[in-house]
Symmetry: C2
Amino acid sequence: MSQRFAVIMAGGSGTRFWPASRAAHPKQFLSLSGGDETLLQASVRRAAAVVGATQVLVVTSARHAETTRAQLPALPAENLLLEPQGRNTAPCIAWAIAHARRRDPQAVLAVLPADPHVGDEQAFEAVLQRALGVAEGGALVTVGITPNRPETGYGYVQVGEQCGDGARRVVAFVEKPDAERAEHFFASGDYLWNSGMFFFSAASMLTAIEAHLPQLARWVVECDEAARRGEEEGFVHDSYASLPSVSIDYGVMERADDILVVPGSFGWDDVGSWSAAWQLSQRDGDDNGCGGGEMLALDASGSYVSAPEGKLVALLGVEDLVVVDTPDALLVMPRERAQQVRRVLDELKARDKTRFL
Amino acid sequence: MSQRFAVIMAGGSGTRFWPASRAAHPKQFLSLSGGDETLLQASVRRAAAVVGATQVLVVTSARHAETTRAQLPALPAENLLLEPQGRNTAPCIAWAIAHARRRDPQAVLAVLPADPHVGDEQAFEAVLQRALGVAEGGALVTVGITPNRPETGYGYVQVGEQCGDGARRVVAFVEKPDAERAEHFFASGDYLWNSGMFFFSAASMLTAIEAHLPQLARWVVECDEAARRGEEEGFVHDSYASLPSVSIDYGVMERADDILVVPGSFGWDDVGSWSAAWQLSQRDGDDNGCGGGEMLALDASGSYVSAPEGKLVALLGVEDLVVVDTPDALLVMPRERAQQVRRVLDELKARDKTRFL
């Protein structure tokens, strides 16, 4: 039987959770819900439940090495792949495939983002097992989330005919729609949310990379040769920046034929903004949620607070606000502005206040 | 010529500026406008300009001794009177009178709160000189502020006939009015804002205290006797708690005849709430004011920020908010709720979170 691997992509440098997330401390290292477990820790725990703890690879930026090791003390050292630069997801996945294939040429991989929220972990694990099983047959597979609302914040997967094992053929990957198209997608039942999770055998994906990103395929071969000489680290350090910065979605999946999708429904959310963090937080009777610190809400409703441990945040008479406090920076905005946090970062750059980024 | 003294009453423990003001660090020790000078420092500086630096007495609580000395390093040690307990203003003023009279039996005193804002300092000093001159003649004198709006947040002084030196007779002291009465007061021209400043000779006020608060008058005599024995500190420590806790307004001024008022107009504000602090702050083109920290306002208006030095406070898309940050507690409320800060303190007490008070 082939070995199964899970690859957690933890290289993100998201800006949507400023000021809690910073260039040096992005979203995956945070706990947004108020619990002790960070998004990365939860992702690794869930993946380990599916493939086993020794089979989880984590790919992140070299600059996050220390934080990642601190958050994942049980991760075997050889399972941590440190990218010298971020080059989007295709190079990151190709490198992880090379690693997995050295352990087992028949390796089958699940590639998972480090930062989604999963509400129903049992259902999640069952869907991953099914998707890995389908991938074992040689197909490139994704998981699509059954929508429960006409969401405009996610990409979609248009699905076609059934093809056994609960999988369906992918007709097309579709960008985030406007409200009207989202309504249509939701009503038709032929569209699933794109979860950003991919499943494949090492051999199948390398064949697809060879077809669509030949430079990256050659790099994998050279990387394996360097590894045999014991020189992988230096090789990656010297060559990684020359790789095409392209996503696996755009670079391979959207160009390949015969992509399958396994539908799933497990309380998934990509937690794309402070508003999503509020949605996922435990809320009081007035719909106020707290993702950290001590909230005191008087005549306040629909608001979200995140603050360092022990810090008191008193809300008096406010509605639908987001208040995120950190030792050196504080953000206050209406919840409906949560998608605009980037504007604050742009303004900080423009004013040369980069110490707050 | 009689010596002139200024008595700065700095014993307040105001709760309206929480979380910047705390039980251990009340409003007079803060700079609310964003400058370096605290309200207490400004009050002492202005008083010294009128009576001379050695003639300024500061009365505060023994618990604030350290903070007061740190903020007023040039204050002569014997000019700092430390109350073992707060007993409102009448005992505090009586004790200050005893001190001044020992230096000069003909002493004339100006009693000033430690925490108002004064916009026009030259006009302020001129009015104080005039009021001291009137008090030298033997009257009990207050200064009334010429209203520039029908304010409901201040008490008023109803004025009567002219009696020379620019002073008028006081008809009555009036509590904070409702909006309708405030409009009437403003339109009539016969009402001034009660500034809480009092001017009198030691002899005149002691006579009035003897008439209306005889227990306090006896205490002054005993205090002088103890001082002659070199035992004032112990005497005050042992006896202060037994004094009536009453304001000089209620205990003496409102019961005495022949009170005079000198009208003044010098950009006076008692800075009674965060909303007043906003009003007095330097504001940007969108009416956002900053009383500390670094404010970054994007699509924000009418808001006020106060934060520790160097802390960034980003406001995105908010209106008319007050955001006050301190190392351990943060308050967010609409500006119009500024009078309700006390509710937060009451709730903290009810939840036994007294460390934040």
